[in-house]
């Protein structure tokens, strides 16, 4: 259970969750519930494969994933911030829309509503051989995982700094807690919330791009509930980047252990319950009460 192959697998499984949970964090800290993360993740996955298919460059694919994620989250932002609609309903609608639209577009582009053709994936980072000793020492470290794994881990640190060490982060958090106060001080609540939701779209879109580029193709509904699991991880991590990271790693690890225990005389069906059991146990036993931002879900 603690061999390197399992830990590696855990980190890779956690990566889309980490990016998506961070996304959820920015949205919810600004006061907007974002269950559309599932749909954004799926759209990001789809867009990244389309862009990679046409340009041949997976980094262009990742950029497209980010862009598509922002586009979908913009829809959520307009509906729930400008039109003050119910944020849960908007999120559910976006998830269903993303599911149908990605299948429909896959069918239009590739003639199958289930599978895209394979595309190029991201090459692992590596210094050129000519760097000699330095390349030999550094490459096993920076080239061990797909590049976006490092990007995800870096994003956690960045999110922490932005949220807790910058004026923007302070305003964002204040908007989620007490928008009236923010408004009184002359900061636009709508602007802060739009920023939060758009950042969330960008991060979840990137999570989707990792998911798809790591498998080199798009498959219908490939998000497979990861957006919701990321949301749970965010709550589990008490709306904190580092906490969310921990929760995502735990979920990823449970998933990896589940896969590695197979074929060892434990029934598959039982083994596959492990991640969910762990989630329940952790939620009940470990974290105690999680307090959401005070104005979460309330239109302003």
């Amino acid at each position: 259970m603690f061999e390197l192959a399992v830990l590696d697998s855990a980190l890779r499984m956690a990566t889309p969750l980490i990016l998506t949970a961070l996304g959820g964090l920015f949205s919810e800290r600004s006061g907007v519930v974002n269950i559309a993360l599932e749909g954004i993740l799926l759209t990001g996955a789809f867009a990244s494969i389309v862009a990679t298919y046409y340009t041949g460059d997976p980094w262009a694919g990742a950029a497209a994933g980010v862009f598509a994620g922002m586009l979908v989250s913009l829809l959520h932002a307009v509906v729930s911030i400008v039109f003050r609609a119910d944020q849960i309903v908007s999120g559910v609608a976006i998830n269903l829309l993303a599911m149908g639209a990605t299948q429909f577009l896959t069918w239009i582009i590739w003639g199958s509503s289930a599978n895209s053709p394979p595309v190029a994936g991201m090459a692992h980072w590596a210094l050129p051989e000519s760097w000699g000793v330095l390349a030999r020492v550094v490459n096993p470290v920076i080239g061990h995982y797909p590049p976006l794994v490092y990007v995800a881990l870096g994003s956690v640190a960045l999110a922490h700094v932005v949220l807790f060490r910058t004026p923007f982060g302070l305003r964002l958090r204040a908007t989620g807690e007490h928008p009236e106060a923010v408004d009184t001080l002359g900061v636009s609540v709508h602007l802060m919330r739009f920023s939060g939701v758009l950042i969330s779209g960008a991060l979840a879109g990137l999570g989707g791009a990792f998911l798809a580029l790591n498998t080199h193709q798009f498959v219908k509904n490939m998000s497979a509930g990861r957006g919701f699991i990321a949301l749970a991880a965010m709550i589990f991590g008490k709306w904190n980047p580092v906490g969310a990271l921990g929760a995502c790693l735990l979920f990823g690890y449970a998933e990896a252990v589940q896969m590695s225990l197979q074929g060892r005389d434990v029934p598959t069906q039982f083994v596959q319950m492990i991640p969910y059991l762990l989630t329940m146990v952790a939620l009940v036993g470990v974290i105690g009460r999680a307090r959401p931002p005070a104005s979460l879900g309330k239109p302003y």
Partner: protein, 336 residues
């Protein structure tokens, strides 16, 4: 709230409509028409469904029949899809995958003038099928035995892996045959087995397939046989990434990663589909269960320009010897 509900409804309608795409080619009435409904892995899975689709296209080319494909968006769409085609007076309707078995039974009785065929039909013991329903099955364990022989001869680490899609008896046949074949060469060989899941979605999850394969490769396995639809695309991707070996399934998948795909266990769903269309066209369609295996080339292993450098004459000799023994009934390949 009214607005929100209306929005939700609109989106639901769009999502549903997009979930059931049907393509129609041709359009004139009176022509012979064949409808095909795909499995979870869907068209473009490069494996099971694509094999069936190739058979359909070949029949369309050779006989000039019109054809329509339907990709169910959700589980419930499966029977709906069959009924829609039957109502539209299609002459032959083919369901690709065991998931259609139950729906086929019902729909075939309701439309006695339409010929139905179900690939991988999940027959009940002593079941008699309606005269207009053909249940097609394959002895996958026989082909899996042969690729097991090749894997056991090719491995350097002496460890073989298997990644299955959904954990069901149909896929256990692949596993059992493969392991039996490997043990035929090396009696005490080590095998690691994993399944992607317990729902049909397990046939369409390449991300999971890749992780399962990387785990097995990380533990010293160097050849993995997959029987998992498009989930297996992830297995082949993993083989390429860590430069180990995979064995393809259903379609010939050797080309997907030349040098990393040792061989493929080819299930000639295409031939079975082709023959069904042909027999219906000639008016000699017969219902009932039909099984294909090594003896009638319904099952094969693939050697082509992509893997001929990996397969030695010695390996061919051994695998052909096993094949002859299976066809002659000297080796009985286990199914469980």
């Amino acid at each position: 709230m009214m607005k929100a509900t209306a929005l939700l409804l609109a989106v639901l309608v769009v999502a549903f409509a997009a979930g059931c795409n049907a393509t129609r080619e041709g359009g004139g009435s009176g022509a012979f028409r064949v409808g095909m409904v795909f499995d979870v892995g869907g068209k473009g899975d490069k494996s099971f469904n694509d094999s069936a689709y190739r058979g359909l296209l070949r029949a369309a080319d050779d006989f000039g029949v019109e054809h329509t494909e339907f990709e169910p968006g959700q589980d419930a769409d499966r029977e709906t899809g069959l009924r829609k085609l039957a109502q539209a007076d299609y002459d032959v309707i083919i369901g690709v995958g065991f998931l259609f078995s139950e729906a086929m039974r019902k729909v075939a009785v309701d439309y006695p003038n339409v010929s139905f065929a179900c690939v991988d039909f999940d027959a009940r013991p002593d079941e008699t099928l309606p005269p207009n329903l053909a249940g097609l099955t394959f002895r996958e364990e026989e082909g899996s035995f042969l690729v097991g022989v090749l894997a056991a001869m090719y491995t350097e680490t002496g460890r073989l892996g298997f990644v299955g899609g959904m954990d069901i008896p149909l896929i256990h046949k692949f596993e059992a045959g493969y392991i039996a074949g490997a043990r035929y060469v090396t009696p005490g060989i080590s095998t690691t087995v994993a399944y992607a899941g317990t729902t049909p979605q397990a046939f369409a999850d390449p991300a999971k397939g890749k992780e399962l394969a990387l785990l097995q490769y990380g533990r010293g396995v160097d050849v993995i046989y997959h029987a998992s639809g498009s989930t297996g695309n992830g297995v082949i991707e993993a083989a390429k990434e860590v430069n180990r070996y995979a064995i393809g399934v259903d379609s010939n998948q050797n080309y997907m990663a030349p040098g990393n795909v040792l061989t493929s266990m080819v299930k000639r769903v295409d031939n079975a589909v082709y023959r069904i269309v042909q027999s219906a066209l000639e008016g000699i369609f017969e219902g009932g269960l039909r099984e294909f295996g090594l003896a009638d080339d319904g099952i094969a292993y693939a050697v082509d320009q992509y893997n001929e450098d990996m397969i030695t004459d010695e390996m061919i000799a051994r695998v052909e010897e096993a094949k002859a023994a299976i066809v002659a009934g000297e080796i009985i390949v286990p199914k469980e």
